[in-house]
Symmetry: C2
Subunit: 247 residues, 2 copies
DNA sequence: AAATAATGTGTGTAATTTACACATTCTAAA
DNA sequence: TTTAGAATGTGTAAATTACACACATTATTT
């Protein structure tokens, strides 16, 4: 046995020891992973970072981090979001926990997936790390993500598709003022299907939380559409009436 | 530097490396808590155990346990269910993770809540621990649960109310063969509202996964109703057609 | 000035949900 | 044995909601 081999063996044993110790205390690492959606150029996008972990070197992964001992689960997700995008006060909601034993190559890590919707045009948004990039959701079909992030992403995307039909989340992806066409493009991108323009319009107006700003689109090569904004207060009132099943 | 020191340094370095990826200082306990529903005497019930923890001595709490290091999250929930009720092959689904820093008095414990639906009349069911009892869901309004289990229960109950209207889960709470009246009583108990008998019947028949067993109720003090069973195969086929958003 | 392209609006039809009543079958009591 | 009671089993009309669809308007560009 060469010294090198011996050392490797010791290292191996130490790692084993660490695992045993962790076992004895029943403690494990817990992380949050954020599926951060954005909407740009009529395309639904998701923010990914290139993994620096050996096993998944170069593969794209969700933005995540370990949860700190004195940090709420939600707070950890907010922290990741803030650190990575500079944004705060944005839509963020827990989707599901993923806890397979072997989901992480470096050891036992249970992760909690969050879904976030941000407005790409918001001036707050600044992505400092140049390993982080926007990817169109469509293009993910052809990409292999690191860890089990493909499954996590799929779960969150389907969750969003369902959720967006029951609650008005979409607005979080748009600028404060938006045209109905933009809103419809967004919904078509999320649901991945064409919608009837007239029925779409009717539906949203009947929900009665779109407010006409009096302004119109500018610099569009056609008749400009009216700009609306989402009235959160009205919505909150309605929500109570709806007896919303909401967790 | 002696070989031993060198080795130690390498071990140290390896651990550091590992820590950077999975910081051992960031580890914490993870538990599962099961909200186990049953249906008996036309009442929706939930299984609770009297806490033996000092702070919550005597208070009722959900059935839960720490997740073991070599155990999947789902497996841990199944284990709790099996150990406490003797039942296997039952409906169990993750609902949400709860991770407030101070939610557990004994230290940091992140818990993942599961919802389970079991048939109280199943012969498998055996509750050995005499600290475990069924409680009607209605009566929980007047009880103070230990930990944050009130919140967890509320979340799971609302989740169930919503879920049961989108997917046929209810059958898991009933015996294999059941009358439509029993089914309706169940739904009325879960949703906590009266339903129209004719429309209820129409709706379920139109979904086309109720099978007439040819048998009838026995020992009822009135005209006996037909007994039906739920056809899982038919349902599975339908589910695909529905393009079910299901995680 | 005309062509183009998108906005803005309304109506009829189909599908679904809701409300509602009466005859039937069994049990239990007279 | 008869009768009263109570729950099962079934159909239809009204109301609401979802869907399909067409044309006039307003701005831009040629």
């Amino acid at each position: 046995m060469t010294p090198k081999m011996k050392m490797a063996a010791t290292v191996e044993k130490t790692l084993k020891g660490l695992q045993t110790e962790v076992q004895s205390t029943n403690k494990m690492a817990i992380s949050v992973d954020c599926v951060i959606f954005g909407f740009d150029e009529n395309t639904l996008k998701v923010l990914l970072i290139r993994s620096d972990l050996k096993k998944y070197k170069g593969k794209w992964t969700l933005l995540g981090d370990l949860v700190k001992p004195d940090e709420d689960l939600d707070a950890a997700a907010y922290r990741v979001l803030k650190q990575r995008t500079g944004m705060k006060d944005v839509y963020l909601e827990q989707v599901k926990a993923f806890g397979e034993v072997d989901r992480h190559p470096a050891g036992r890590v249970v992760t909690v997936a969050y879904c976030s919707l941000i407005n790409i045009q918001n001036h707050q948004l600044q992505i400092l790390d140049n390993e982080i990039h926007w990817h169109s959701v469509d293009s993910l079909k052809d990409k292999e993500l690191g860890f089990d992030h493909e499954r996590i992403f799929d779960t969150c995307y389907r969750w969003l598709q369902k959720r967006v039909q029951e609650h008005p989340l979409g607005f979080n992806l748009l600028p404060k003022k938006f045209s109905l066409r933009e809103l419809q493009n967004l919904y078509e991108a999320i649901l991945s299907k064409k919608l009837d323009r007239r029925n779409f319009r009717k539906k949203f107006f009947s929900m009665d939380f779109l407010v006409d700003t009096g302004e119109e689109e500018r610099d569009v090569p056609h008749r400009p559409g009216k700009l609306y904004k989402f009235d959160f207060e009205k919505y909150e009132k309605k929500k109570k009436v709806w007896a919303g099943i909401d967790f």
